[in-house]
Every structure is written in structure tokens, then in C-alpha cells.
């Protein structure tokens, strides 16, 4: 039987051979400089810390249990088994606003409730997002009268979901859109996202600088790269 030996050299096999040689150089410690960087980049999944943080934040949103009216029942529907939000990792609905990062305003916000909602939103820690679920919280919904307030008037809302009430699948679609939004944009405080600089509350007696200067810090946008 004749053994055929083929020379690994030019062509497609050359690629393989050069990689082999480089791997051997890596093992012996002979790879340096730009070659080393290139080698590492090809093999190790690197990313910026921001992207990693955004990925983690987006895949671990903890909604706050904030059911107001009929939309709350459909929000309970997404936690239920048919439209299961746990497959995305969002089933940990936290009751305390300090532990939550998504406020799903499900239901009509009456004028008596609006300050309460705002207070709860303020109690949440950054980064935080808000979804106005249903027609009543996004706009006035079915009822256009003296008693309710559209959510945009007193708090910044990231996603509006239409429907009366929106199906659980619609709410899930909205949450996934929010997830895509979080993953794509670098993290921002809500004041940067919505141009709310200048509304911070300071205890003026404890400020080291002038209140006017404190308010104007970050007016230019805080350095994040989006058009807020």
C-alpha cells in the first residue's frame, strides 16, 4: 500500500497551517504585540463593560407589581402560565419599588393616585424604566374626563402599549421592545434620557457649591451619546 504524503502549504490549507503555527507560538510564548492582540481578540469574546452591563440589565428586568385597574388582570396574565414571562427572566415581580426597575403602569391613573405613582417612581433606583400599559395610562383611554391623568404628564414613560386592555402577548411584546431598547442604548438616568436636568432636589444648606451651579451640572447631556 502506498502512503501518500501531501504537503500542507498554499491554498485553503495554508490558512489552517498558519493558525497551527500561531497556536504553537502562543504556547511557547513567542507571540507578541499586534499579533498577540489579534490572536486574543479572535478567540475571547470581548465586549465593552457597558454592553455587558446593558445585556445583564435587559435580561433581568424586575417589574414592580403596580396594578391599578383592568390592565392589571392582563398583567397578571403574563405571569400566568400561558403567556409566560418567566421564559425571558422577568417573572420576579418585586413589590417594593426599591427592588424593582420597571414600573408597568397598568390601568387608569386617577388624580388622587398620580402623586402616589410619582412617589413610587421616584423611590425606584436608577436605572429604571416605565411602561404605560393600556390606553388609559398612555393617553386618556376610553375616558376623557376630569378624573384621570395621562401618565406622560407626571412621569417619563419609555414604552406605551395600546389596547384596552392589551392582550398579554401585546404587553410582552412591549416589554421585549423595552429590552431591545435597553440593550442598544447605553445606560442613562431618566433625566438624561428625557432632558429632565435641572429638576434635581438638593438640600441647599448642605451643598458645597452654588445651587445654580449644581443644577446646571450635566445640562449639556452628561456625555452619553444619544440625542436625549
Amino acid at each position: 500500500m502506498e502512503i501518500k504524503r501531501e504537503r500542507l502549504g498554499a491554498g485553503a490549507d495554508g490558512e489552517f497551517r498558519s493558525r497551527q503555527l500561531r497556536a504553537r507560538q502562543m504556547l511557547t510564548g513567542d507571540l507578541e504585540g499586534a499579533d498577540l492582540d489579534k490572536y486574543v481578540e479572535e478567540r475571547v469574546l470581548t465586549t465593552t463593560m457597558e454592553k455587558a452591563a446593558n445585556w445583564a440589565r435587559a435580561n433581568g428586568i424586575m417589574p414592580a407589581t403596580f396594578g391599578l385597574a383592568c390592565c392589571a388582570i392582563e398583567m397578571m396574565g403574563i405571569v400566568a402560565a400561558r403567556v409566560d414571562v418567566a421564559r425571558f427572566g422577568f417573572e420576579a415581580l418585586r413589590a417594593s419599588p426599591r427592588q424593582a426597575d420597571l414600573l408597568i403602569l397598568s390601568g387608569r391613573v386617577s388624580i388622587k393616585m398620580a402623586p402616589v405613582v410619582r412617589r413610587i417612581y421616584d423611590q425606584m433606583l436608577e436605572p429604571k424604566w416605565a411602561i404605560a400599559m393600556g390606553a388609559c395610562s398612555s393617553s386618556m383611554g376610553v375616558f376623557n374626563n376630569y378624573a384621570i391623568v395621562p401618565a406622560d404628564k407626571f412621569m417619563p414613560v419609555d414604552i406605551h402599549i395600546p389596547g384596552c386592555p392589551p392582550r398579554p402577548e401585546a404587553l410582552l411584546y412591549g416589554i421585549l421592545k423595552l429590552r431591545a431598547m435597553i440593550m442598544s442604548k447605553p445606560d442613562q438616568a431618566w433625566r438624561t434620557r428625557y432632558g429632565g436636568r435641572g429638576t434635581e432636589e438638593f438640600v441647599e444648606s448642605e451643598l458645597a457649591i452654588e445651587p445654580v451651579a449644581a443644577h446646571s451640572i450635566g445640562v449639556s447631556g452628561g456625555g452619553e451619546g444619544t440625542s436625549a
Partner: protein, 170 residues
């Protein structure tokens, strides 16, 4: 339902007990009996009907009859569970003297319901244990369900009128 004759008998008893103008009107409409009484006699009327068997006060609600005078109506829906009878007691009060004696001491169910009538219409219930606003914020001004109270609301934004109204987020 007490039929038309039964209603007249009840009305007659009330007139005998409390004077000829105790009962302002009796109506029998769509198989339901209604007594319209003079406002000062509300407790006596309800007590009398309680003796007659109407021991359950199902509902206390208010109506604004604007522009008819007297403007505010307060309706009491009574139910007799043993005979399965219903009867309505109505009274009318004008705007400048919207005082009605509260029936809460005898009928505890009227507590929140009278507060709602006060909140929505401004009818003041004397001797109510705790007359405060119940549905609107405590410091709200105005009584929303009066007919001349504007319905309020936000203007609906279309493309053609959007420049006229400032946007919410700006």
C-alpha cells in the same frame, strides 16, 4: 313590588302620621313604586317602611335634576327580602339649602354612600358621623357630577391641532 294601590296605602299612612305634605308625590312606573317625600321626614319615612318590612337599604344615590328645581335628588332604594318587594324613596333639595338629615345612625349601610353623594353633588348630610370626600382628593374643589360641572379631560391631539396644544413631555 307593592302595586299601585299598596303604594297609595303606604302614602296615606305616612300622610296620616306626619302631615298632609309629608308625601309630595307617588309614582308607579314600570312596575316599581316610588314615593317622593319632603326632605325633613326622611328618617321617619324610612323607619315607617322598615316597620312595614323593607328592612334592607340597597342603595343611596344622588341625582342632579338641573335645570329643574329643586335641583338635587337623593334616592333610597329599599328592599323587603321576605316579600321580595322593592320601593324607592326620593326627596329633592335645592341648591341653596342642600341639607338632608343623614340616615346613617339607623341604616349603617348609608355611610359611604352618603359620602359619595356629598362628594359628587354637594348635598350635605347633617349628623353624618364623618362627612368627607370619598372618591375625589380631599382638597378637591367642586362637585363633579353636577350637570353644570364641565366634563374635563385632555384635548385629543391630531396633526391639525397639535401645534395649538403644548406637548405633554415638553
Amino acid at each position: 313590588m307593592p302595586d299601585a294601590t299598596g303604594l297609595e296605602l303606604i302614602a296615606q299612612e305616612l300622610r296620616d302620621a306626619h302631615g298632609a305634605d309629608a308625601v309630595v308625590d307617588t309614582t308607579y312606573f314600570r312596575d316599581k313604586a316610588t314615593l317622593t317625600i319632603a326632605p325633613p321626614l326622611v328618617r321617619e319615612t324610612l323607619a315607617h317602611l322598615k316597620d312595614r318590612g323593607f328592612r334592607f337599604l340597597a342603595s343611596v344615590h344622588g341625582v342632579d335634576y338641573y335645570p329643574e328645581e329643586p335641583r338635587f335628588g337623593v334616592h333610597y332604594e329599599l328592599l323587603d327580602m321576605t316579600e321580595v318587594d322593592r320601593i324607592t324613596v326620593k326627596l329633592r333639595v335645592p341648591l341653596d339649602a342642600p341639607n338632608v338629615l343623614s340616615v346613617t345612625p339607623q341604616w349603617p349601610t348609608a355611610d359611604h354612600q352618603e359620602r359619595e353623594v356629598y362628594d359628587m353633588f354637594g348635598v350635605i348630610f347633617d349628623e353624618h358621623p364623618d362627612l368627607r370626600r370619598i372618591l375625589m382628593p380631599e382638597d378637591y374643589e367642586g362637585h363633579p357630577q353636577r350637570r353644570d360641572f364641565p366634563i374635563g379631560g385632555e384635548p385629543v391631539l391630531f396633526t391639525h391641532n397639535e401645534p395649538r396644544y403644548p406637548r405633554y413631555t415638553q
